[in-house]
Amino acid sequence: MSTARAERLPSSDPAAVRCRIGARGISRSFGPVRANVDVTLTVRPGTVHAVVGENGAGKSTLMRMLYGLDQPDAGSVIVDDEEILLSSPRAAIERRIGLVQQELAIIPELSLLENLVLGQEPGAFGRIDWKAAQKRAEELSRSVGVAIDWSASAARTSIAIQQQVEILRLVYRGADVLILDEPTAVLAPVQADELLGLLSSLRDAGRTVIFISHKLDEVLSIADHITVLRSGRTITELEPGEIDRAGLAAFIVGDSEMPNRPTTRGNPGTVVLHADAISAVDDRGVTRLDGVAFEARAGEILGIAAVAGNGQEELAEVLIGIRASSSGELSLDGQGIGRMSVRARRRAGLAYVSADRKQEGLALGLSLADNSIASPALKELARAGWLRPSAVAARVDAVLGRAAVRFGSASDPASSLSGGNQQRVVLGRETIGKPRVLIASQPTRGVDVKGIGYIHELLRRARDEGAAVVLFSEELDELRELSDRILVLHRGRVAGVLDGESSRAEIGELMLGHTSHASHDRPVEGEDA
């Protein structure tokens, strides 16, 4: 019944309005932390505007205020050249502003179509006109040039498709300004390109897009304007033509703080971890790993590359023991560990950096001290079942010091740290015991440029101390920079093992299943379930 609203064309005349949405002198503090200081932002209608900066630079705080989730202490939000108070998201939605958060609000039990129209279904008197809904959905996806199977169940579609649906839902509800908080952080390269294409067509249709990203290449390729935030302040506004990647990175971290990145390679020694014909299924019983075999050597970084959903998550979980393998052999220094518990594997010398930092990597509600000591090695810090406070304090210092974590007090909750610092706690804890094998899954996901440098340094250090590092990453450049060898997974099988210095194109071919004598498979989107 309210489709009329959704179909309404953008009302603001691009020529008349200079600033579709923005900020004028906004400041916002949380206790002693000044998240935003006199921030100014001008987003012109019909443009894609990127907001970049380190973790903790104040990007998300600013976005929350632009969407009415939070209000400035000083200064104000600008909508259509006018200073206004956005008291709630409802007020923002009335001004046709929509926000896509990192955690998608997709209901897995419903179909994509149901997710799209939920809350604003076409029809009358409580009856939903599904034909009209389907028609609207198809028009919508056609107008922005994406192919979506609207009848598919949301649970069975990839995160990339879910994200597109979430964006289209905002459009369906009449949003003309779309704010996206790190939309490509969880996407594989191919999927990210697709998303950037979608954002471009939304802009071409006259809509305004603001997006936060740590990936400078995509920012430079798609944005019309770039605003750099550092320590809560606006540093500069640029256009992509004016600057290159290195220059932009320098603006983000300030002065000459760019971490020095040695591109040293490892010094592979003896085989430590040996996997043979590993197969496993996911939670829904779909086969995700099909006879994977590889070996990892002491003192090397073995990169694992794959398009999301091709089995890399399951492989990481099988290696540490969170997920059981359905068949295959796994051995550490020649000793079978495939039937061992996580606890026994860790005792034998495995360590694990989870891709899910918030749920598996850390206990966000517990203190930094608690997070630093949580492992089977806890026993070393205890006598007769009681923790020795001096031993605990020494271990906490060692872990936080090793990873150069910036923190206030070790009794602060882990949730009080920024994402990059949280990940350092994880890496410090996982490498303090000199593991034989370090399984690191997406260790730099959602971490800013400078933070990434530190994490790479910690990974190299673990390698140099003799660990076999198995690095899972969706960032090809990260894999190429760090890995001695890169193993490519495609549909749960090993598509090939390449030298660490292979080109993006060579790796990308294997990721898409284009082996020399294989037929041209399409990349898995998760719909093969």
Binding site: S2, F30, G31, P32, V33, R64, G68, L69, D70, Q71, S87, S88, P89, R90, I93, E94, L99, E103, A105, L118, G119, R173, I320, I322, S341, V342, R343, A344, R345, R346, R347, Y352, S354, D356, Q359, E360, G361, L362, A363, L364, G365, L366, D370, I373, A374, S375, P376, L378, K379, A382, G385, W386, L387, P389, G408, S409, S411, D412, P413, S416
Partner: protein, 375 residues
Amino acid sequence: MTGTATQGAPVAPEPTEASTPVGRRAATALGRVARHAGVPVVLALAIGALVLAVTGNDPLEVYGRLLSEAFGTPSRINATLAATTPILFTAVAAAFAYRAGAFTVGVEGSFVLGGLTASVIGSQMADVPPVLSVLLPLLGATIAGGLVAVIPGILRAWWGVDEVVTTLMFNFIVTGLAGWSVQSFFLAKGQANSSTEYVTENAELPALAPPGQTSIGLVIGLVILIAYAVWMRYSTLGFEFRAVGSAPRFSAAQGLRVKTVLATALIGAGVIGGIGGGSHALGLVHRYSEGFSANFGFTGIAIALLARFNPIGILVGAILFGALNSAGATVQLFIDLPVQIIDVLQGTVMIFAVAVFTLPKLRRLRAARAEWKRP
């Protein structure tokens, strides 16, 4: 909406200078507990006042009378502490399991079977030397209380069977078994109602201040409360309890002893509940009879939630509910007041305790759903 926004803000370190870290930590924890626990209690009193006013009573008069009946004289304080003792045990028992994220409702069953076991053993202590005559029944109560929770504990830890369902079912099983075994085996001679023989005099827990009813059981309860506090903070397994309770997936990925923790949490809660039942039998009622537990196990749940598992909060909560019980029993001697009003008050505190407990979660949910709202 601003409330949710500030919730996400970084926590500022407390600017107290002179106090030690431990002292400061205790102070902030206490302040938090007071804030969380104060709200439900005040809300419940307000609703109680409304009910009293509607039923034609003067709320202030009733509350004043309740206060004086609970704490007015040394003998009334003694009565309040006697009523506090059983729920102190059940509250610590519940908190012990909840810290590990195991939501047991089976403390009631452990309390009942512990009480029956202590009564039966206690009635046979005539020729047993002192001290041992108390320890043997208490040991029996401890084992019995733990046994009640063994099957739910194993089912939860190794098979992931929901502990709420199993412990609730075991309450029914245990209460039925207890009633049947009293009727069949332990019925006191010449008793019309179904109760066991009184325990022998040397098996009774001595009163702290005769003729008041508060016994050494209160001291046992306090010792267990302190042990609970120290163990949770400083023992290895206590650390793992907190980790598993606060972040189960993290604990599994770190290789912590998740199964051991869950089984220990449930069985340990049963053990503490069993000792509570034993102390109640030996210290106050001196036998087991039908209606031995006035839902002490469930009152303990409310106290544990109200206190957020904080030891001092548990003590204060147990005294609060103890006061309501002891004063509620006698206040009708002075005021024409339906005894059910006390149940209403207790029930309201419990509802608000649980409601406030889940409030932060609801707020987050609401924030997440804000964008779903129809424009």
